[in-house]
Amino acid sequence: MTDATTPGAKPAPPTGDTPAAGPTGGGTAAPYAKRLRPGIYRRHHYLAVVVFVAATAVLAPMFAESRSTQFLVNLWLVYSITGIGFYWVFGLAGRFAFCQTFMMALGGYMGAWVAQSSLEGGFLVQVALAVVASAVVATVVGLLVRRAQAFYFAIATIAVAEMGRVFFSKAEWFTGMNGTRTGIPPIRLFGRDYIAEDEVFWIFLGGLALVLLLAAVIERSPLRRDGVAARDNALVAAVVGVPTGRAQLTLFVLGSAMGGLSGALMGPWTGTTGDTSFGIELAIGIFLMLLLGGIGSMWGPVVGAAFYVAVPDLLSGFDKYATIVYGALLLVTIILMPEGIVGGLGRLRLRLEGRWRRIRPKGAVDAVG
């Protein structure tokens, strides 16, 4: 029942069975405590991350031969990053946020501006400032609408996206002529340029690995259950003592920062950035990735992003019908598969183990005395 620690990536994460000085009762406390830990700590999050990263590192170069396939793989990695961010915001904290693409655009502009202005910041500086910018904006927005309930929050985030659009179109000192910045220098890290698709792959995979690690850390912490409680019944959660506002704000800021990160990655990769690259189709796409892949798991967006990136490739002549197909797919997913692929697989496993019992629909009014 040990969880593998990830070598080197971060200081050795504590496992549940570290025999620290027991809280009570001396020597018997530690193994007793281990038996008591919530089921989620028995899942092998870190191991899964390691396996995934290793598998991708080995398989992708083997199977992605052409430039266009490599491009899609990189796109999948970047979209997974923003997807995981959206999972924190919407899947975990239950906040219906419509500003993820705005955050991506903000990150993209910020990175490009840092690179092209007199700052001439390097890649890491670009990325760091992009993350900070989106985190700051998300914090301000989140604080303003902190106690707003579901639809007020949704409308506020749509408004943020609209405000962003207006601002981006006017602030050409920041967003470049006509809101597009071109000629962004490629990724340069430790004296090396990463230009070709298969070179950029390693940068993106490294970035996704770090994000996945953070996701695993969050899954194995009280923040996760606080978010779920705030999502499922914020009022009762608050009465019971859950810091709902703080948990949801934290997850919203983190998720938005991931949007900023992915936007900042895309700039030096493609050489251009502009908020037209992050339009409403991508916004729907992010929803789709999360819902298709499975809204209840940190791996959902990774699976969903793979589908989102692969589908246009599989259907030729797709372009004209793209939005309709995505919209229809979203509808079908919601109606037939609300738990997405990962959720469906999880349910299958439980059914096979004979432990499944139908979840009562949320809001069912039980027999009242």
């Binding site: 219906f96 303003l144 609408v145 902190r146 106690r147 707003a148 309930q149 579901a150 639809f151 007020y152 949704a154 409308i155 506020a156 749509i158 408004a159 943020v160 609209e162 405000m163 659009r165 207006v166 601002f167 006017k170 019944n233 009022l235 009762v236 409403i280 189709e281 729907i284 929803f287 819902l291 004209k320 019908y321 793209a322 939005t323 309709i324 197909v325 995505y326 919209g327 229809a328 979203l330 509808l331 919601i334 109606i335 609300p338 629909p361 949320k362 809001g363 009014v365």
Partner: protein, 290 residues
């Protein structure tokens, strides 16, 4: 002085359009609890249908508009069948996401049908302008205000005098009891979707002659209308109308004089102020269940 008159006229006309759009989705919200994120694309669809009726069917303007509105009603009913009927026992959030999906499906269909080049809609009053106190006010703006006022008055009457209105108000107050008392949720929902779509289309048709008709046409109008609904209070029709006029005038006057570049941000700033000061949710359903 002319600037003031011109801006005020713009503000009132803009407010009238916002009121139409806002009332459209609020009627739907009151009747079904659904927030329709496809509403903006319905605005655009109305304009496109009018363009088609006038250009391709060669109908005279007003007839073309009426055809478009009838078609919008049909679209509304179809939407109800797609996003509401199959999802009735799921949480409202799921339906809302479904409306998002519908939004881009509608957009995609329009793009397929009409292409993505902007179109123009001709109005019966053309480009003629009135001259008021030295300022040129497009007659279309007057048309907007008149038509909007009549439609809104009709809506208010509908709500207060007819059985449909009573049923909607009953559903808005307490859906379960309303159904138990014989309100037929599905028929009311279909009617509400149709009415909502018609109002959206009407707004699109009224505004279209003043600007170009393209795919993004209705979206920012919808978002501003959301801001109106928040500022005016989601519950009351009167509040929404007042909110629409306030926001329309603020954006045109304050924006026109002080901050022309970013005038479009003003409604949202106002909305954030309201949200942060008055964060109570829309309907406090869960409390009564505890």
């Amino acid at each position: 002085m002319e600037k003031f008159v011109a801006l005020t006229a713009s503000g009132i006309a803009y407010g009238a359009v916002l009121a139409l759009v806002a009332l459209g989705f609020i009627v739907l919200y009151k009747a079904t609890g659904i927030i329709n994120f496809a509403h903006g694309d319905l605005v655009g669809l109305g304009a496109y249908l009018a363009v088609w009726a006038v250009d391709d069917l060669n109908l005279p303007s007003v007839a073309g508009y009426l055809v478009a509105l009838v078609l919008m009603a049909a679209v509304g009913v179809v939407m109800e069948r797609i996003v509401r009927a199959p999802l009735r026992d799921k949480p409202v959030l799921v339906v809302v996401i479904a409306t998002l999906a519908m939004a881009i499906v509608i957009r995609g269909l329009i793009a397929l049908w009409q292409g993505s080049n902007p179109k123009t809609l001709v109005s019966p009053v053309g480009n003629r302008a009135l001259h008021v106190a030295g300022a040129a006010v497009a007659q279309q703006r007057v048309v907007i205000v008149v038509v909007a006022t009549l439609s809104i008055a009709g809506l208010v009457l509908l709500f207060q005098r007819t059985s449909f209105g009573r049923q909607v108000r009953a559903l808005a107050a307490d859906p379960d009891t309303a159904v138990l008392m014989g309100v037929r949720g599905t028929y009311v929902a279909m009617a509400a979707f149709a009415l909502s779509a018609v109002f959206a289309g009407l707004a699109g048709i009224l505004v279209a002659p003043l600007s170009a008709v393209d795919l993004n046409f209705g979206f920012s109008l919808m978002v501003t209308a959301f801001a109106v609904a928040v500022v005016g209070g989601f519950g009351s029709l009167g509040g929404v109308i007042v909110g629409a006029l306030v926001i329309g005038l603020v954006q045109q006057l304050v924006g026109g004089y002080l901050w022309p570049e970013y005038a479009g941000l003003l409604p949202y700033i106002l909305m954030f102020v309201v949200i942060s000061l008055r964060p109570e949710g829309l309907i406090v359903v869960e409390r009564s269940r505890l």
